[in-house]
Symmetry: C2
Subunit: 162 residues, 2 copies
Amino acid sequence: MGTFAKNTDDTELALCAAFPTDLTMLLHAAAGRMTDDLDLAAVEMGLNDVRDWLVLAALDDGRQRTQLELSRVVCVDKTTLISVLDRLEKHELIVRSVDPSDRRVRIPQITSTGRKVYAKFAVARDVAEARALNGVDQAERALLLDLLARIADRQAAALPAS
Amino acid sequence: MGTFAKNTDDTELALCAAFPTDLTMLLHAAAGRMTDDLDLAAVEMGLNDVRDWLVLAALDDGRQRTQLELSRVVCVDKTTLISVLDRLEKHELIVRSVDPSDRRVRIPQITSTGRKVYAKFAVARDVAEARALNGVDQAERALLLDLLARIADRQAAALPAS
DNA sequence: CTCGGATCGTCTGGACTCGGACGATCCTAT
DNA sequence: ATAGGATCGTCCGAGTCCAGACGATCCGAG
Protein backbone atom coordinates (compact mmCIF):
# COMPACT_ATOMS: atom_id res chain seq x y z
CA MET A 1 0.00 0.00 0.00
CA GLY A 2 2.85 2.38 0.54
CA THR A 3 3.03 3.13 -3.09
CA PHE A 4 3.48 6.79 -3.79
CA ALA A 5 6.24 9.29 -3.42
CA LYS A 6 6.56 11.78 -0.64
CA ASN A 7 6.14 15.36 -1.72
CA THR A 8 9.60 16.78 -1.44
CA ASP A 9 9.06 19.01 -4.45
CA ASP A 10 8.30 22.58 -3.66
CA THR A 11 7.23 23.70 -7.09
CA GLU A 12 5.05 21.04 -8.64
CA LEU A 13 2.79 20.21 -5.80
CA ALA A 14 -0.79 19.85 -6.89
CA LEU A 15 -0.13 17.47 -9.73
CA CYS A 16 -1.11 14.35 -7.88
CA ALA A 17 -4.61 15.53 -8.66
CA ALA A 18 -3.89 15.27 -12.36
CA PHE A 19 -6.59 12.64 -12.51
CA PRO A 20 -9.41 14.59 -10.98
CA THR A 21 -12.04 11.98 -11.63
CA ASP A 22 -10.22 9.02 -10.16
CA LEU A 23 -11.35 8.19 -6.67
CA THR A 24 -8.33 6.12 -5.74
CA MET A 25 -5.85 8.74 -6.85
CA LEU A 26 -7.74 11.47 -5.07
CA LEU A 27 -7.81 9.46 -1.90
CA HIS A 28 -4.09 8.93 -2.13
CA ALA A 29 -3.40 12.55 -2.87
CA ALA A 30 -5.55 13.76 -0.01
CA ALA A 31 -4.13 11.25 2.43
CA GLY A 32 -0.65 12.15 1.31
CA ARG A 33 -1.19 15.83 1.96
CA MET A 34 -2.56 15.25 5.41
CA THR A 35 0.22 12.84 6.25
CA ASP A 36 2.95 15.14 4.99
CA ASP A 37 1.53 17.89 7.12
CA LEU A 38 1.23 15.72 10.19
CA ASP A 39 4.64 14.16 9.72
CA LEU A 40 6.02 17.64 9.94
CA ALA A 41 4.17 18.30 13.18
CA ALA A 42 5.30 14.92 14.47
CA VAL A 43 9.01 15.50 14.04
CA GLU A 44 8.64 18.94 15.61
CA MET A 45 7.62 17.31 18.86
CA GLY A 46 10.10 14.47 18.82
CA LEU A 47 7.99 11.83 17.16
CA ASN A 48 9.04 10.25 13.93
CA ASP A 49 5.95 9.56 11.95
CA VAL A 50 2.24 9.70 11.99
CA ARG A 51 2.56 6.09 12.96
CA ASP A 52 4.27 7.01 16.19
CA TRP A 53 1.31 9.15 17.05
CA LEU A 54 -1.10 6.50 15.90
CA VAL A 55 0.41 4.00 18.28
CA LEU A 56 0.32 6.51 21.10
CA ALA A 57 -3.30 7.24 20.31
CA ALA A 58 -4.16 3.57 20.49
CA LEU A 59 -2.37 3.27 23.80
CA ASP A 60 -3.97 6.36 25.26
CA ASP A 61 -7.24 4.65 26.08
CA GLY A 62 -5.38 2.67 28.74
CA ARG A 63 -6.58 -0.72 27.56
CA GLN A 64 -4.09 -3.48 28.13
CA ARG A 65 -3.05 -4.82 24.80
CA THR A 66 -0.58 -7.36 23.51
CA GLN A 67 1.88 -6.02 20.96
CA LEU A 68 0.24 -8.29 18.45
CA GLU A 69 -3.22 -6.96 19.24
CA LEU A 70 -1.86 -3.46 19.03
CA SER A 71 -0.31 -4.09 15.65
CA ARG A 72 -3.65 -5.26 14.35
CA VAL A 73 -5.54 -2.33 15.79
CA VAL A 74 -3.30 0.27 14.19
CA CYS A 75 -2.64 -1.68 10.98
CA VAL A 76 1.11 -1.72 11.47
CA ASP A 77 3.10 -4.83 10.78
CA LYS A 78 4.15 -6.51 14.01
CA THR A 79 7.83 -6.41 13.09
CA THR A 80 7.63 -2.74 12.18
CA LEU A 81 5.75 -2.07 15.38
CA ILE A 82 8.80 -3.25 17.29
CA SER A 83 10.95 -0.42 16.02
CA VAL A 84 8.20 2.07 16.76
CA LEU A 85 7.85 0.79 20.32
CA ASP A 86 11.63 0.75 20.72
CA ARG A 87 11.79 4.41 19.78
CA LEU A 88 8.85 5.39 21.95
CA GLU A 89 10.33 3.49 24.86
CA LYS A 90 13.71 5.15 24.40
CA HIS A 91 12.01 8.53 24.58
CA GLU A 92 10.15 7.31 27.66
CA LEU A 93 6.76 7.82 26.12
CA ILE A 94 5.80 4.22 26.80
CA VAL A 95 7.00 1.30 28.89
CA ARG A 96 6.87 -2.37 28.07
CA SER A 97 5.87 -4.46 31.04
CA VAL A 98 5.73 -8.21 31.08
CA ASP A 99 2.36 -9.75 31.71
CA PRO A 100 2.92 -11.80 34.89
CA SER A 101 0.23 -14.26 33.91
CA ASP A 102 1.86 -14.95 30.53
CA ARG A 103 5.52 -14.22 30.37
CA ARG A 104 5.58 -14.37 26.58
CA VAL A 105 3.62 -11.20 26.08
CA ARG A 106 4.66 -7.60 26.60
CA ILE A 107 2.09 -5.01 27.53
CA PRO A 108 3.08 -1.62 26.17
CA GLN A 109 1.66 1.23 28.24
CA ILE A 110 1.73 4.94 27.74
CA THR A 111 3.56 7.06 30.34
CA SER A 112 2.50 10.44 31.63
CA THR A 113 4.99 12.23 29.40
CA GLY A 114 3.71 10.10 26.54
CA ARG A 115 0.22 11.30 27.30
CA LYS A 116 1.42 14.88 27.22
CA VAL A 117 3.09 14.45 23.84
CA TYR A 118 -0.01 12.76 22.54
CA ALA A 119 -2.22 15.62 23.64
CA LYS A 120 0.13 18.12 22.09
CA PHE A 121 0.07 16.28 18.83
CA ALA A 122 -3.69 16.00 18.95
CA VAL A 123 -4.11 19.75 18.79
CA ALA A 124 -1.67 19.91 15.86
CA ARG A 125 -3.80 17.32 14.13
CA ASP A 126 -6.94 19.30 14.83
CA VAL A 127 -5.36 22.40 13.38
CA ALA A 128 -4.30 20.53 10.26
CA GLU A 129 -7.76 19.08 9.80
CA ALA A 130 -9.41 22.41 10.38
CA ARG A 131 -7.23 23.97 7.73
CA ALA A 132 -7.88 21.15 5.32
CA LEU A 133 -11.62 21.49 5.77
CA ASN A 134 -11.66 25.26 5.98
CA GLY A 135 -14.85 26.58 4.48
CA VAL A 136 -16.63 23.24 4.50
CA ASP A 137 -19.78 23.30 6.54
CA GLN A 138 -20.67 20.83 9.22
CA ALA A 139 -23.10 18.73 7.23
CA GLU A 140 -20.61 18.27 4.42
CA ARG A 141 -17.86 17.29 6.85
CA ALA A 142 -20.09 14.68 8.40
CA LEU A 143 -20.94 13.32 4.99
CA LEU A 144 -17.29 13.18 4.02
CA LEU A 145 -16.30 11.24 7.12
CA ASP A 146 -19.25 8.93 6.70
CA LEU A 147 -18.46 8.19 3.08
CA LEU A 148 -14.81 7.55 3.85
CA ALA A 149 -15.72 5.19 6.64
CA ARG A 150 -18.14 3.46 4.33
CA ILE A 151 -15.50 3.02 1.65
CA ALA A 152 -13.02 1.65 4.14
CA ASP A 153 -15.53 -0.77 5.61
CA ARG A 154 -17.56 -1.81 2.61
CA GLN A 155 -14.54 -3.02 0.74
CA ALA A 156 -13.64 -5.10 3.73
CA ALA A 157 -17.09 -6.56 3.84
CA ALA A 158 -17.11 -7.15 0.10
CA LEU A 159 -13.86 -9.08 -0.04
CA PRO A 160 -14.81 -12.34 1.68
CA ALA A 161 -17.84 -12.54 -0.57
CA SER A 162 -15.73 -12.70 -3.73
CA MET B 1 4.08 8.92 3.04
CA GLY B 2 4.18 5.18 2.59
CA THR B 3 3.48 4.65 6.19
CA PHE B 4 0.90 1.99 6.77
CA ALA B 5 0.79 -1.73 6.46
CA LYS B 6 -0.82 -3.66 3.69
CA ASN B 7 -3.85 -5.66 4.69
CA THR B 8 -2.68 -9.20 4.54
CA ASP B 9 -4.89 -10.16 7.45
CA ASP B 10 -8.07 -11.93 6.56
CA THR B 11 -9.81 -11.72 9.90
CA GLU B 12 -9.26 -8.29 11.42
CA LEU B 13 -9.96 -6.10 8.47
CA ALA B 14 -12.03 -3.11 9.39
CA LEU B 15 -9.87 -1.99 12.29
CA CYS B 16 -8.01 0.69 10.45
CA ALA B 17 -11.17 2.66 11.03
CA ALA B 18 -10.72 2.34 14.76
CA PHE B 19 -10.46 6.11 14.86
CA PRO B 20 -13.70 6.97 13.16
CA THR B 21 -13.40 10.69 13.77
CA ASP B 22 -9.88 11.15 12.46
CA LEU B 23 -9.79 12.49 8.93
CA THR B 24 -6.23 11.45 8.20
CA MET B 25 -6.73 7.90 9.37
CA LEU B 26 -9.94 7.57 7.43
CA LEU B 27 -8.29 8.85 4.30
CA HIS B 28 -5.53 6.33 4.73
CA ALA B 29 -7.90 3.51 5.42
CA ALA B 30 -10.06 4.32 2.43
CA ALA B 31 -7.10 4.79 0.12
CA GLY B 32 -5.63 1.55 1.39
CA ARG B 33 -8.77 -0.38 0.66
CA MET B 34 -9.03 0.93 -2.85
CA THR B 35 -5.36 0.31 -3.49
CA ASP B 36 -5.45 -3.21 -2.14
CA ASP B 37 -8.35 -3.95 -4.40
CA LEU B 38 -6.72 -2.40 -7.44
CA ASP B 39 -3.36 -4.00 -6.75
CA LEU B 40 -5.14 -7.30 -6.97
CA ALA B 41 -6.66 -6.41 -10.31
CA ALA B 42 -3.28 -5.14 -11.47
CA VAL B 43 -1.35 -8.33 -10.86
CA GLU B 44 -4.14 -10.30 -12.48
CA MET B 45 -3.42 -8.58 -15.76
CA GLY B 46 0.35 -8.64 -15.54
CA LEU B 47 0.93 -5.28 -13.94
CA ASN B 48 2.68 -4.97 -10.64
CA ASP B 49 1.11 -2.08 -8.83
CA VAL B 50 -1.39 0.67 -9.07
CA ARG B 51 1.63 2.71 -9.96
CA ASP B 52 2.19 0.72 -13.11
CA TRP B 53 -1.32 1.55 -14.16
CA LEU B 54 -0.91 5.13 -13.11
CA VAL B 55 2.08 5.52 -15.39
CA LEU B 56 0.22 3.86 -18.22
CA ALA B 57 -2.69 6.19 -17.65
CA ALA B 58 -0.45 9.20 -17.82
CA LEU B 59 1.08 7.91 -21.05
CA ASP B 60 -2.25 7.08 -22.61
CA ASP B 61 -3.04 10.64 -23.57
CA GLY B 62 -0.23 10.44 -26.12
CA ARG B 63 1.50 13.60 -24.96
CA GLN B 64 5.25 13.46 -25.37
CA ARG B 65 6.80 13.66 -21.97
CA THR B 66 10.27 13.49 -20.55
CA GLN B 67 10.75 10.85 -17.88
CA LEU B 68 11.30 13.65 -15.45
CA GLU B 69 8.07 15.37 -16.42
CA LEU B 70 6.30 12.07 -16.18
CA SER B 71 7.66 11.43 -12.72
CA ARG B 72 6.31 14.77 -11.58
CA VAL B 73 2.92 14.24 -13.14
CA VAL B 74 2.35 10.91 -11.45
CA CYS B 75 4.13 11.80 -8.20
CA VAL B 76 6.61 8.95 -8.46
CA ASP B 77 10.24 9.49 -7.64
CA LYS B 78 12.31 9.67 -10.80
CA THR B 79 14.59 6.87 -9.69
CA THR B 80 11.65 4.67 -8.82
CA LEU B 81 10.03 5.52 -12.11
CA ILE B 82 12.99 3.91 -13.87
CA SER B 83 12.18 0.48 -12.50
CA VAL B 84 8.53 0.92 -13.41
CA LEU B 85 9.42 1.89 -16.95
CA ASP B 86 11.92 -0.97 -17.15
CA ARG B 87 9.22 -3.42 -16.23
CA LEU B 88 6.65 -1.92 -18.57
CA GLU B 89 9.18 -1.92 -21.38
CA LYS B 90 10.09 -5.54 -20.74
CA HIS B 91 6.43 -6.45 -21.05
CA GLU B 92 6.29 -4.36 -24.24
CA LEU B 93 3.64 -2.05 -22.88
CA ILE B 94 5.77 0.98 -23.58
CA VAL B 95 8.86 1.89 -25.57
CA ARG B 96 11.52 4.42 -24.72
CA SER B 97 12.56 6.43 -27.73
CA VAL B 98 15.32 8.99 -27.77
CA ASP B 99 14.29 12.51 -28.56
CA PRO B 100 16.31 13.32 -31.70
CA SER B 101 16.35 17.01 -30.84
CA ASP B 102 17.82 16.37 -27.37
CA ARG B 103 19.64 13.13 -27.01
CA ARG B 104 19.68 13.33 -23.23
CA VAL B 105 15.99 12.74 -22.85
CA ARG B 106 14.00 9.57 -23.34
CA ILE B 107 10.38 9.79 -24.42
CA PRO B 108 8.39 6.86 -23.05
CA GLN B 109 5.41 6.02 -25.20
CA ILE B 110 2.62 3.56 -24.77
CA THR B 111 2.31 0.72 -27.27
CA SER B 112 -0.89 -0.71 -28.64
CA THR B 113 -0.73 -3.68 -26.30
CA GLY B 114 -0.07 -1.22 -23.51
CA ARG B 115 -3.20 0.61 -24.48
CA LYS B 116 -5.14 -2.62 -24.37
CA VAL B 117 -3.91 -3.48 -20.90
CA TYR B 118 -4.68 0.02 -19.75
CA ALA B 119 -8.24 -0.17 -21.03
CA LYS B 120 -8.71 -3.53 -19.37
CA PHE B 121 -7.51 -2.17 -16.08
CA ALA B 122 -9.70 0.90 -16.42
CA VAL B 123 -12.85 -1.20 -16.34
CA ALA B 124 -11.55 -3.05 -13.28
CA ARG B 125 -11.02 0.31 -11.63
CA ASP B 126 -14.52 1.43 -12.54
CA VAL B 127 -15.96 -1.72 -11.06
CA ALA B 128 -13.99 -1.22 -7.86
CA GLU B 129 -15.08 2.37 -7.56
CA ALA B 130 -18.67 1.50 -8.31
CA ARG B 131 -18.62 -1.09 -5.57
CA ALA B 132 -16.97 1.29 -3.14
CA LEU B 133 -19.60 3.94 -3.80
CA ASN B 134 -22.50 1.56 -4.08
CA GLY B 135 -25.62 3.23 -2.80
CA VAL B 136 -24.18 6.72 -2.83
CA ASP B 137 -26.14 9.06 -5.03
CA GLN B 138 -24.65 11.25 -7.71
CA ALA B 139 -24.66 14.51 -5.78
CA GLU B 140 -22.88 12.95 -2.85
CA ARG B 141 -20.27 11.41 -5.11
CA ALA B 142 -19.58 14.73 -6.71
CA LEU B 143 -19.26 16.34 -3.32
CA LEU B 144 -16.86 13.64 -2.17
CA LEU B 145 -14.59 14.05 -5.17
CA ASP B 146 -14.72 17.80 -4.84
CA LEU B 147 -13.82 17.75 -1.17
CA LEU B 148 -10.98 15.33 -1.73
CA ALA B 149 -9.59 17.47 -4.50
CA ARG B 150 -9.91 20.48 -2.29
CA ILE B 151 -8.04 18.80 0.54
CA ALA B 152 -5.28 17.72 -1.80
CA ASP B 153 -4.96 21.15 -3.31
CA ARG B 154 -5.62 23.45 -0.40
CA GLN B 155 -2.87 21.94 1.67
CA ALA B 156 -0.50 22.48 -1.19
CA ALA B 157 -1.57 26.08 -1.47
CA ALA B 158 -1.34 26.58 2.27
CA LEU B 159 2.22 25.34 2.64
CA PRO B 160 4.20 28.09 0.94
CA ALA B 161 2.33 30.62 3.03
CA SER B 162 3.62 29.15 6.29
C1' DC C 1 5.12 -34.91 34.59
C1' DT C 2 6.11 -34.39 30.03
C1' DC C 3 5.73 -33.88 25.32
C1' DG C 4 3.87 -31.70 21.01
C1' DG C 5 1.85 -27.96 19.13
C1' DA C 6 0.33 -23.22 19.35
C1' DT C 7 1.41 -18.39 20.29
C1' DC C 8 4.16 -14.60 21.90
C1' DG C 9 8.15 -11.09 20.72
C1' DT C 10 12.28 -10.68 18.13
C1' DC C 11 15.61 -11.32 14.46
C1' DT C 12 17.08 -11.87 9.68
C1' DG C 13 17.26 -11.88 4.50
C1' DG C 14 15.64 -10.05 0.36
C1' DA C 15 13.18 -6.49 -1.85
C1' DC C 16 11.95 -1.78 -2.29
C1' DT C 17 12.57 3.53 -1.76
C1' DC C 18 14.91 7.64 -2.56
C1' DG C 19 18.73 11.43 -1.83
C1' DG C 20 22.89 12.24 -3.78
C1' DA C 21 26.58 11.33 -7.20
C1' DC C 22 27.76 10.27 -11.91
C1' DG C 23 28.47 10.42 -17.19
C1' DA C 24 26.30 12.12 -21.25
C1' DT C 25 24.42 15.85 -23.50
C1' DC C 26 22.80 20.50 -24.22
C1' DC C 27 23.09 25.63 -24.08
C1' DT C 28 25.12 30.13 -23.43
C1' DA C 29 28.82 33.43 -23.23
C1' DT C 30 32.96 34.62 -24.74
C1' DA D 1 35.42 26.86 -31.14
C1' DT D 2 35.18 25.97 -26.56
C1' DA D 3 34.77 26.26 -21.55
C1' DG D 4 31.39 26.35 -17.72
C1' DG D 5 27.23 25.35 -16.01
C1' DA D 6 22.62 23.33 -16.25
C1' DT D 7 19.75 19.27 -17.13
C1' DC D 8 18.75 14.66 -18.66
C1' DG D 9 18.63 9.40 -17.31
C1' DT D 10 20.92 6.13 -14.48
C1' DC D 11 23.46 4.13 -10.59
C1' DC D 12 24.76 3.57 -5.82
C1' DG D 13 24.26 3.42 -0.74
C1' DA D 14 21.82 4.01 3.43
C1' DG D 15 17.47 3.40 5.20
C1' DT D 16 12.99 1.00 5.59
C1' DC D 17 9.54 -2.70 5.16
C1' DC D 18 7.85 -7.24 5.80
C1' DA D 19 7.46 -12.62 5.18
C1' DG D 20 9.46 -16.26 7.35
C1' DA D 21 12.48 -18.41 10.88
C1' DC D 22 13.69 -18.63 15.62
C1' DG D 23 13.80 -19.11 20.87
C1' DA D 24 10.92 -18.60 24.80
C1' DT D 25 6.79 -19.66 26.86
C1' DC D 26 2.15 -21.46 27.46
C1' DC D 27 -1.41 -25.09 27.25
C1' DG D 28 -3.74 -29.54 26.63
C1' DA D 29 -3.51 -34.65 26.00
C1' DG D 30 -1.87 -38.63 27.64
